[in-house]
């Protein structure tokens, strides 16, 4: 189906310890982790908080019954980005310029460098071209999931090699070329490690939060945490109602959009074919009825709410009261104690 692959609700229903915790508990833990990590980041080469952090995240993954593969699928891009930023970051000198180790300098000649670049460019060009050849065996090979990115990477590498060749092309072949030295500093290593761990941990934790908490429970938890703001005349209940209604109507809207898409496709409006102008027109014929339908639905909903005695000024109470269980207190207390202790020298 068309709209089935949109990752709107990444909630994965399971029966696990972390699933059964209150949404409030999980939100409080997330909120507590941030100041704790900020404090921990102030002391260099104090590894205990980070060890605790990694252990904590591993425990949570282990107790959330979410397969590691799912976690990896959502984090590999961040890991890749960090690997790329590591190259300039490792030689950063502004925090602690003390030299940890140095690579190089690598001394060679322009002639050799040019040969290496040429061979490399030719190699990657062959790899890239092989993906375009109409050979059945190659086709099936390139259609495999893990392989596709190789095509783009090889094309980029070919381009990079060509640019470098053009830059050093005018130098005489026998002239010496020194690459490096590449200095790795203590400050660089620390910034990379701590920054990487903190970002990854927060990402994984908030991801696990949405994966193990149903959206409705999440909104309810958030409303309960925000309840004190009612004293300041902030519209906490309205916020809760609006978010819950919005969540409730996402699947309905998707279903309607799919139905409309089919209806319009039957009239010859296919988003995947036609000129650009026709495709824009097809989009409009999807969205005009969709918006119109949503407005009608919203009006109906308002009438239905009022018919059931909903008042804007009134105070709403939840149908199912959710209270902290022993496990919530145990987990919160445990995490609090462990994190505070890890900050001590």
């Amino acid at each position: 189906m068309l709209f089935r692959n949109i990752p709107v609700g990444t909630y994965i229903p399971r029966d696990s310890l972390f699933h059964n915790l209150q949404a409030r508990t999980k939100l409080l833990i997330l909120v507590w982790l941030v100041p704790w990590l900020i404090v921990a980041n102030h002391r260099e080469w104090h590894f205990l908080p980070y060890i605790v952090l990694v252990a904590l995240i591993s425990f949570i993954i282990a107790f959330s019954a979410i397969p590691l593969r799912e976690v990896w699928r959502r984090t590999w891009l961040i890991v890749l980005l960090f690997a790329l930023t590591a190259i300039p970051l490792l030689s950063a000198t502004d925090e602690d310029p003390k030299r940890l180790t140095a690579l190089g300098p690598l001394v060679t000649t322009y002639g050799l460098a040019r040969i290496v670049l040429l061979v490399g460019a030719a190699l990657f060009a062959v790899v890239f071209l092989s993906s375009r050849l109409p050979v059945a065996a190659l086709r099936t090979f390139w259609r495999r999931r893990g392989i596709r990115w190789l095509r783009i990477v090889s094309l980029l590498l070919v381009l990079a090699a060509c640019v470098t060749l053009w830059l050093i092309g005018s130098n005489p072949g026998a002239q010496a070329l020194s690459i490096g030295p590449y200095v790795i500093t203590y400050g660089g290593v620390w910034t990379l490690l701590s920054g990487f761990l903190v970002l990854l941990a927060l990402l994984i934790f908030s991801m696990l939060l949405t994966m193990t908490t149903s959206p409705v429970a999440m909104i309810e938890g958030l409303t309960m945490l925000l309840a004190p703001l009612r004293r300041l005349k902030l519209p906490v209940d309205d916020f809760a109602l609006m978010s819950l209604l919005a969540l409730r109507f996402i699947p309905t809207l998707l279903e309607e959009a799919e139905q409309l898409y089919k209806a319009q496709a039957s009239r010859g409006a296919d988003l995947t074919s036609g000129t650009i102008r026709e495709r824009f027109q097809s989009l409009s014929m999807l969205f005009v009825p969709l918006v119109q339908g949503s407005l009608r639905r919203a009006a109906d909903l308002a009438v239905a709410l009022e018919a059931r005695g909903y008042e804007v000024e009134g105070h709403q109470t939840p149908l199912h009261e959710s209270t902290f269980a022993t496990m919530d207190y145990v987990v919160m207390g445990g995490i609090f104690v462990v994190t505070v202790v890890s900050l001590l020298p």
Binding site: G268, S284, M285, P289
Partner: protein
């Protein structure tokens, strides 16, 4: 004999929703004759909508084949635009799909997408609007959003008819209409069939409604084709229909009750008029009342 417009051969369709795989349509073999009016009937969730979505390529069969007007829908590389021009489809609540500013523009959308000439488009739109009883002089320049529900539905029908399909598929076309609008809609549909000679496939959960229009009924239950035949023969088997969650029209039910009560009612009586003629010609009326 003319070749049937739709032939399905061991057609199956499976929905896989992450956790479980479910057959929505399983091993269906049917043929629908060119120029006829067929009705596909079944309770909610019996696979009717899934089945008809194969007829214009919105879904591809998981197994088996579907031939529509000589085009194999399941084959790779099928030109779906050609198929969809030949097969018009009207979904439930089709009035929701109207989007243009005027009735004329909305009906003209399909023909425009077929890249026809201006005059051809105009003729087709005028004819289609005339067929559904919304003459252009009166309705063409109005916004579809200011029409009544029944009228908007007929605009949607005109939008499909203007593409001059050879096959017209309607998925529960009268849901949510009142009795008058309902019979009006069927009247215009019959007119369209007469004028354009289009083959019609109706989907419904109510047999009474489609009985007067359809030449042949197909009963689906849990994705399987359980009964088929002309309405007359199907309606005389009220017991079996009830087994599939359906009810024969009240008249047929009444007649079969009379038969059970010992009255020799012929099996081929089907419409109210036929019943009256028979009653007049037979003596037992005084005894009944």
């Amino acid at each position: 004999m003319i070749e049937p417009i739709i032939i399905t051969h061991h057609l199956s369709h499976m929905y896989s929703s992450g956790h479980s795989d479910k057959f929505a349509v399983e091993d269906v073999n049917l043929e629908i004759a060119r120029g006829s009016c067929a009705a596909i009937i079944g309770v909610t969730g019996s696979g009717k909508s899934t089945l008809i979505q194969h007829f214009n390529g919105l879904l591809r069969p998981t197994a088996g084949t579907v031939l529509v007007d000589g085009i194999d829908v399941g084959a790779s590389g099928v030109d779906l635009r050609i198929l969809r021009q030949r097969v018009g489809m009207l979904f439930q609540f089709p009035e929701a799909q109207l989007f243009e500013r005027t009735v004329f523009a909305d009906v003209a959308f399909g023909p425009r997408r077929m890249r026809l000439g201006r005059h051809e488009i105009r003729t087709r739109v005028l004819t289609a609007l005339e067929t559904v009883g919304l003459p252009h002089q009166e309705y063409g320049a109005r916004s579809p959003f200011e029409l009544s529900g029944g009228q908007r539905r007929r605009v949607a029908l005109a939008g499909v008819l203007a593409m001059l399909p050879r096959l017209l598929i309607l998925d529960e076309p009268t849901v949510g209409l009142d009795a008058d609008a309902r019979s009006e809609f069927y009247m215009y549909l019959r007119r369209a069939q007469r004028l354009q000679g289009v083959t019609i496939v109706l989907v419904s959960h109510d047999m009474t409604e489609v009985a007067s229009l359809a030449d042949r009924l197909f009963v689906l239950h849990n994705g399987r084709l359980v009964m088929q035949g002309p309405p007359r023969s199907l309606f005389s088997e009220g017991e079996r229909l009830r087994q599939w969650g359906l009810a024969a029209p009240p008249l047929s039910e009444l007649l079969s009750l009379l038969r059970k009560g010992g009255l020799a009612v012929p099996l081929d009586i089907f419409t109210l008029d036929e019943a009256f003629t028979w009653l007049r010609s037979e003596a037992p009326i005084p005894r009944l009342f």
